[in-house]
């Protein structure tokens, strides 16, 4: 029997080793697996390589992971924000290595990893500083830059509903990197708002099929206190 439900975020992340590459879903707060990140902080793994669009906002989530000095390298497209002070401090202190990647190239490199693609040519960044030192090629009338996939040991993502096979649905723009990160990691852990019985998800509405998901943790949404 397949049962990917795990009782707690802590149990779902217990085996993350030091030095792991961890993809973290989300774009800003939408789709950010906050409770999984908290569990990763509590778990204590260090020297992590983190893949995320940003480099943390304010003091929670990824920002807290960086603040706790667990991240040695971050691969992202948009680290600098008005509230990225934990990243800014670690970066300026030389404690954190940054690989800056255009957002579409980041997404496609993640997608390529999950899809078994060895490398791909993209027109993005040709002739810019972010393509320096990279192989380029003219194909037809355009110039392209060779980019390689980003594989991960773990992906931490937030979805909306899941069944015990790990099939996932998402909610609005919280989908963002979830589906491609799920496919790119050896072990994908999804936190979801609701778990449902097998058969309750219409196969037409499944966005991430369970084949890409190893563990599912239900996190009860916070209720606003009046």
């Amino acid at each position: 029997m397949i049962d990917k439900f795990i009782a707690s975020a802590a149990a779902a992340l217990a085996d993350v080793p030091d030095g792991a590459t961890v993809m973290i879903g989300g774009f800003g707060n939408a789709g950010m697996p906050a409770e999984l990140i908290d569990a990763l902080i509590a778990q204590g793994a260090k020297n992590l390589t983190v893949v995320n669009n940003n480099a943390g906002n304010a003091d929670a989530g990824l920002a807290a992971l960086i603040g706790a000095k667990r991240v040695k390298r971050i691969i992202c497209s948009f680290p600098r924000q008005t509230d990225s002070w934990h990243f800014d401090k670690a970066y300026r202190a030389g404690e954190l290595e940054l690989e800056l990647v255009p957002q579409g190239t980041l997404a496609e490199r993640i997608r390529a990893a999950g899809a078994g693609i060895g490398a791909f040519y993209t027109p993005t960044a040709f002739g810019t500083r972010l393509a320096e030192g990279k192989e380029t090629r003219r194909i037809g009338e355009r110039d392209y830059v060779l980019e390689y996939p980003i594989h991960a040991d773990y992906a931490l993502i937030k979805a909306d509903r899941a069944d015990r096979w790990g099939n996932l649905t998402y909610r609005m723009t919280a989908r963002n990197f979830g589906p491609i990160m799920a496919a790119a990691a050896k072990c994908t852990v999804a936190q979801v708002r609701e778990t449902v019985a097998l058969g309750e998800l219409d196969p037409e509405e499944v966005v991430t099929p369970g084949i890409f998901v190893k563990r599912v943790v239900r996190i009860a949404p916070l209720r606003k206190v009046a």
Binding site: A30, G31, Q103, G104, A125, G127, P179
Partner: protein, 216 residues
């Protein structure tokens, strides 16, 4: 001379976006364009974080943290809107499916090179986001910026001194002084604000401009 304010530049950009267009508005100044799109045109707004068919800002108290734009501001959905993941979203951009994108800029060169992501100062923390993908991907790349820096220097330059976002990618520039097309044979002035002569615009810009027959 009457310089255009930010909203007037945005309105001027909006005027040029036709019915049926798929459009991405960059973070910051370009976001203002949404407020000026003519109501009688169906224009579908795209955002990098996986959404087509963005509607107006939600009323206070109606925000949903799962429904945001690339600037991470709360938005609403129009009827007909759709959600998709990030790789599909950038496939739309890179795959030349977007009709227009509107971007801010530090500098635009005579050849249409765009610099908008990095000031080039060594201690600056770089952040690129989706700008480089939009610059190479949209069918029409529109730039919206002030014509001059605070020091009075032209932001339209012979060669960009800031790091490039994209080479030869800009189609049209909207500033507080003029609308200028970037063409293979140079810069063509489409519009000039009231009270500014072509000669004066030429002097302020410091790069060769061509006069369109329709320009003042």
């Amino acid at each position: 001379m009457k310089k255009l304010d930010r909203n007037q530049i945005a309105a001027r950009v909006a005027r040029d976006i036709p019915d049926g267009a798929y459009v991405n508005l960059g973070i910051g100044l370009p976001t203002l364009v949404a407020d000026h799109l003519p109501k009688d045109r169906e224009i579908v707004l795209h955002s990098e974080n996986g959404v087509l068919g963005i509607g107006p800002r939600p009323a206070k108290g109606m925000e949903d943290e799962d429904l945001i734009n690339a600037g991470k501001e709360p938005v609403t959905m129009l009827k007909g809107g759709a959600f998709f993941h990030h790789a599909d979203s950038f496939g739309m951009i890179r795959g030349r499916h977007l009709d227009y994108c509107v971007l801010g800029a530090f500098q635009v060169s005579v050849a249409g090179d765009l610099a908008n992501w990095h000031t080039g100062t060594p201690d600056a923390i770089p952040a690129v986001g989706g700008a480089m993908d939009l610059a190479v991907g949209a069918k029409n790349v529109l730039v919206m910026m002030e014509h001059l820096t605070k020091e009075g220097k032209s932001k339209i330059v012979e060669r960009c001194t800031y790091p490039l976002t994209g080479a030869r990618c800009v189609n049209r520039v909207y500033t507080d002084l003029a609308v200028i097309d970037v063409k293979p044979d140079g810069l063509h002035v489409v519009d000039i604000v009231e009270g500014l002569s072509f000669e004066e615009l030429q002097r302020l810009s410091g790069v060769p401009l061509r006069r369109l027959a329709t320009a003042a």
